[in-house]
Symmetry: C2
Subunit: 544 residues, 2 copies
C-alpha cells in the first residue's frame, strides 16, 4: 500500500531557503584581522547566490568539485551553501597537511576551483604547481602576493561576487547526489575520500541538533572551533540554518589569548572542537584567573576527534561550570556516531562514568562489536571488540576506491576497539592499530594516557607499543612535563599507574619530551612517535 | 557525481530497535482501572513482536489495515510499533465520532482487524454490524460482554500474544510504504484518509523532537493527553523511542480529577493536548489550590488542534509556572506545521506576541499565503490570505480520493486564513469557512472568541456568521457563562469588545447557552451551531 505522502527530497537547498528567511536575522560572526565582523543569514544566502553565479560563469558544472583552503569564516560558510546547492561538490581541504598530501588529495578529487584565504597564500605558493586540475583560484581577503602559475586564472572573492545578482535558479537535485567530499587524514594508509550526499548531510544536521545530542536551537550561539575542513565542521553550518542557531567563527585566531578575547566579545553559549584547543584555553585562564569572566557565557563544549582526558572535563566543570560532552565519530560517519549525555535519574558518580564514555549512539547509527574471528560480541559493557557501524550517514565506500578491507558485510570497520553497554553507551579503549599486544593480552594505550594525564606533573602523555622479544610488544610512555624546567620523576608516575592498573599493564619504558608530535587535526601522531623510536631519536629510560 | 553514502531507508523498524535496546529501560506508564501500570520499552518491543506474530497468524499481510479503537495505553503503543513494522498499516479510529461515521471510515479503509479496548465495547456493539471488512476483533482488557457478529472471530489481547515468541523477522520495507492511516474528522465534508509513510513518520518524529519544537530527550517524561487516534498522537510514540523520552498514558481517565491525580503520581515534565482539557485542569485546581503541587513537575505543555485562548496560556504561566506552547497542524501535516517559541533576545512583551502566534514553521514545511484570486501574498505580518503548505510529511493526496480541490499546484490548501511575518511566524486568524464576510470585509471569528474569553464572566465563546440582508453576514456570539447561576450582561461583553475592536466588527447578536457543542476532538462545532441557529433553536438577543 502506498502512502499519500510525497517523496520530497532532503536537500541543502531547503536548509538554505529556511535559514535565509525564517532565521534571516540570525548572525554569523567572524574574527578577522581588523576586528569582529557580522553578517545575517539573509546576507549569507544572498552571497551564496552570487558565488554560485560566479562559479557558473567560471564554467563550474553539476558534479564539479570546488575546493576550499579556508579558516572558519563567513565566506567559507557561503561556499558551504553555494557549492552543493548549485549542484557542484564542496571539497574543504585540510591545509595543515603537508603540501604533497594536499596535492594528492586535490588531484584525486579533480578539484576545478580553489577558494583560498589570503592568509593561506604563503603555503599555497608551494602547493599550486602540484595541482593538476585546478583552473581558477579565488582569493578571500587582501592578496598582495599572488603566486604565479600557468593555466590558472586568479580572482578576488569580493570582486568576483560583487556584480552578481543575489538570487540563483537553484536546481532540483536528487537527494542522493554528492554535496561535499572530505578526505580522511591518512593516519592509517593513503587518504580516502568520503562523499556526502544532500540526504546524508540533511539527516545528520537534524540529528546533531536533537536535545540528546548537541541540543541546537535559535536560542544558542555556537563557537565553531572545529575547523570547517574537519568532517564538514561536524555539520554545524547546516544545523545552524536548520535551527536558527547563530555561529561564531574564530577565523585563524585559535591561540588561547585571541580565542578567549573572541569568546568574551561574542558570548557563545556552546562550542565544539578537539580537546587540545580546550587544554590551551584552560591553561591560559589558569595563568590569569580574571579571564574566567570572558568564557562564562559558555554552557556546553562538545569535544571529539580524539578521546578527551577526564582531567580536562573535570577541570572545565569544576573551575568554570562548563559541561564538556564527549562525542565519537569519524570522517566516514559525518561525523556523529555517539555523544555522552548520561541517562536521566543517575547519581553524580554514575553520571561521570557515563560522561567519560563516548556516549550513546544516534538512532540512525547501528553498531556492533566484532571479535578477532569476525564473530559478533555481546553488548555487556565488558566484552571488547572492534566497533562496526552502518547507517544513512555512514559511508559504504570511498571515492574511486571501494576500500574493501574497510567494510565487513556492509558495515564500516571503524578501526576503533571498545565495549558497548546494554543501554548503548560506547567506550573506546583504543585504536586497533594502537592497542599494545603484550603476551597475548591487549593493553589500551588510551587508558594509560588518560591515567598519566591525571597526574599533576604531566601536561600530555602518549603511549605506543614497541617491539619486545619476550612479550611481543611492551608500552613506551612518552610524557610532556607540565613544568618544562623541573625534572619529571618517572618512577613516581609508574607508581601512580601501579595503584590503578594490573602490574603487567604498567610501562617500564619512559621518555620525557618537550612536546608531542600531532596530526593535522590535533591528535597525538603515534606514527611519528613510532618512527622517532625506531630511529633511536627518543631518549628512553627504564623506570625502576 | 554520486555520494558514497548508502540510501539507508528511514523506517519505524529502526526506531523500534533503537528504543528497545539503547532506551530499553525507559518506561511507558498507563493509568488503568486498577492503578498505574508500567512497562519498559524493551517489554513493549517484545510484545510488539508477539502481536505481529499473532496478526500474521490471523492472516494479516503486507499492506492490510489493522484498526484500533483504544485509549492512550501501553497496548496501543505496542500496536503502533507492531503493525507498521510488520508491513501492515495502522489505522487508529476516533471512537468519539458517531458510529455510522466510524463505520464509513473503517469500510473505506477496508480494516481487516480491530483491536478494541474493553471499555469501548458498549459503543462497539452498535458499530460492529456496520463493519463490512473486519474479520477479527481483539479485545484489550476484561471483556465480559462480547457483542456477537457473524463472520468475526474474537480474541483476547493478552491471551493472543501470550504464547508467541518475543522476536519477529521484521521485513525490509521501502521507506515510502504506508505505515499508518488517519482520517480527517470531516468537519468540512466527508472524512478523508491521510496515509503516512515510514519515511514521513520518521522525519516528523525527528523534527518534533528538536529543541526549537517539542524539545524531547531521554531526560523528559511526556504526558500524552492528545488521543492516540488524533494524527498518530502527534508522533509522540515514535519520538519516544527515537529519543528515549518516557511516556505517561492517561488511558480513559481524562476528567480533571483523575488526570491531576495521575500527573501527581507519574511526574511528567511535558504534556501535549487540545486546549479544552487544560481549561478543565485549570478550573479544577482553581477550585482546590492545594492541588497545584500535583502538577508542578510539568514545565511545558504543547497545545494544538485548535487555537488556545491567550487567557489560558497566561493563567498556566502566572499561576503554575508552566509554559504553554502553541502549535499549528492538521491531520494532513502529520501534524507538525509550526510551534510558537519566540526568537532569542526579545523582551517579555514581544515574546508574548510571538507566543500567541501559531509560531515558526519546521524547516521541512514550506508555506505560502494565497489571495482570493490565487496570487501569492507578502509575508509581512499584515497581509491575510489562505495558508498553503508542502513538505515531506504534508500529504499530496487522500486515500482513494485525489481531493483535487484541496490542492493547488502541489501545495495543500489548509483552509486556514492568516498572516506570516518576515521571520516565518504564522498567525491563524480563522478558518476560511468560519470567517465572517461582512460588507466586503472579513471578521475573524477566532479573534472575537479569544477576546470574549478574556472576560471574567465568560467560560467559553464561539462566534459564527449568520445571514444578514444588509451586510451579507454578521457575527453571532454564543457564550457560556462562567457562573451558570448568574445572569450574563451581554451589553457589558459588547462594551468589552468595543474597547478592543473597530465597531463594525462587534457582534450585535448574542446567545447565552449552558454549553457549546464540540467535535470529536474537542473543537467548537460551528457546523452544529449554524444548524441550531438555522432551526431557530438558539435564543438570541440583540445587545443594545
Amino acid at each position: 500500500m502506498l502512502s499519500t505522502m510525497p517523496h520530497t527530497p532532503l536537500r541543502i537547498r531547503r536548509l538554505l531557503e529556511h535559514g535565509a528567511t525564517r532565521h534571516g536575522t540570525a548572525q554569523v560572526t567572524t574574527a578577522t584581522e581588523t576586528g569582529v565582523v557580522s553578517a545575517s543569514y539573509a546576507d549569507v544566502a544572498q552571497n551564496a547566490a552570487r558565488l554560485a553565479r560566479a562559479l557558473r560563469d567560471l564554467g563550474v558544472h553539476r558534479g564539479d568539485r570546488v575546493a576550499t583552503l579556508m579558516w572558519n569564516n563567513q565566506q567559507h560558510l557561503e561556499a558551504y551553501y553555494a557549492v552543493p546547492t548549485m549542484g557542484a561538490v564542496l571539497h574543504p581541504l585540510n591545509f595543515r597537511l603537508p603540501p604533497d598530501v594536499i596535492a594528492h588529495i586535490a588531484n584525486q578529487a579533480e578539484d576545478r576551483v580553489v577558494i583560498v584565504d589570503a592568509s593561506v597564500l604563503p603555503m599555497f605558493e608551494g602547493l599550486l604547481p602540484m595541482l593538476r586540475t585546478v583552473r581558477h583560484v579565488i582569493v578571500n581577503g587582501e592578496d598582495a602576493d599572488r603566486p604565479s602559475a600557468r593555466r590558472v586564472s586568479w580572482h578576488g572573492y569580493a570582486e568576483l561576487i560583487a556584480s552578481q545578482p543575489a538570487v540563483y535558479p537553484w536546481p532540483d537535485l536528487h537527494e542522493d547526489q554528492a554535496a561535499a567530499v572530505c578526505y580522511t587524514t591518512g593516519t592509517t594508509g593513503a587518504p580516502k575520500g568520503v562523499v556526502y550526499s544532500h540526504r546524508s548531510v540533511y539527516l545528520h544536521a537534524t540529528s546533531v541538533s536533537l536535545p540528546g545530542h548537541f541540543a541546537l536551537s535559535h536560542a544558542e550561539r555556537m563557537l565553531a572551533v572545529v575547523p570547517q575542513f574537519h568532517v564538514l565542521a561536524w555539520g554545524l553550518p547546516y544545523a545552524a540554518f536548520l535551527t536558527g542557531m547563530q555561529l561564531a567563527m574564530p577565523g585563524r585566531f585559535l591561540a588561547a589569548q585571541p580565542l578567549v578575547d573572541f569568546i568574551g566579545a561574542v558570548r557563545p553559549t556552546k562550542a565544539a572542537g578537539v580537546p587540545t584547543v580546550w587544554q590551551s584555553v584552560l591553561d591560559h585562564i589558569a595563568a590569569d584567573p580574571a579571564r574566567h569572566a570572558e568564557i562564562c557565557s559558555l554552557q556546553e563544549i562538545v569535544v571529539g576527534g580524539s578521546a578527551c582526558p577526564p582531567s580536562l572535563m573535570r577541570a572545565y566543570e569544576e573551575r568554570h561550570g562548563i559541561l564538556m560532552l564527549h562525542a565519537w565519530g569519524m570522517t566516514e560517519t559525518s561525523p556523529l556516531g555517539s555523544i555522552s549525555r548520561p541517562p536521566a535519574d543517575v547519581d553524580s558518580a554514575a553520571a561521570w562514568r557515563y560522561r567519560l564514555s563516548q556516549g550513546r549512539f544516534a538512532a540512525e547509527v547501528e553498531a556492533r562489536l566484532i571479535g578477532a574471528h569476525g564473530e559478533p560480541l555481546a553488548h555487556d559493557g565488558q566484552t571488547v571488540g572492534e566497533l562496526e557501524v552502518r547507517g544513512p550517514w555512514v559511508t559504504a565506500s570511498y571515492f574511486k576506491d571501494q576500500g574493501e578491507d574497510k567494510f565487513h558485510d556492509g558495515w564500516l570497520r571503524t578501526g576503533d576497539v571498545g565495549s558497548i553497554t546494554a543501554d548503548g553507551y560506547l567506550t573506546i579503549t583504543d585504536r586497533l592499530k594502537d592497542v599494545i599486544k603484550s603476551g597475548g593480552e591487549w593493553i589500551s594505550s588510551i587508558e594509560l594516557e588518560n591515567l598519566l594525564m591525571t597526574h599533576q606533573d604531566v601536561l600530555e602523555a602518549a603511549v605506543i607499543g614497541v617491539p619486545d622479544e619476550k612479550w611481543g610488544e611492551r608500552p613506551l610512555a612518552v610524557v610532556v612535563p607540565r613544568d618544562q624546567h623541573a625534572p619529571v620523576d618517572t618512577a613516581a608516575l609508574r607508581d601512580h599507574l601501579a595503584e590503578l592498573l594490573p602490574s603487567w599493564q604498567v610501562p617500564r619504558l619512559w621518555a620525557v619530551v618537550g612536546s608531542l608530535p600531532k596530526t593535522s587535526v590535533g591528535k597525538f601522531d603515534k606514527v611519528a612517535l613510532r618512527e622517532l623510536h625506531a630511529k633511536g631519536a627518543l631518549e628512553t629510560s627504564a623506570a625502576a
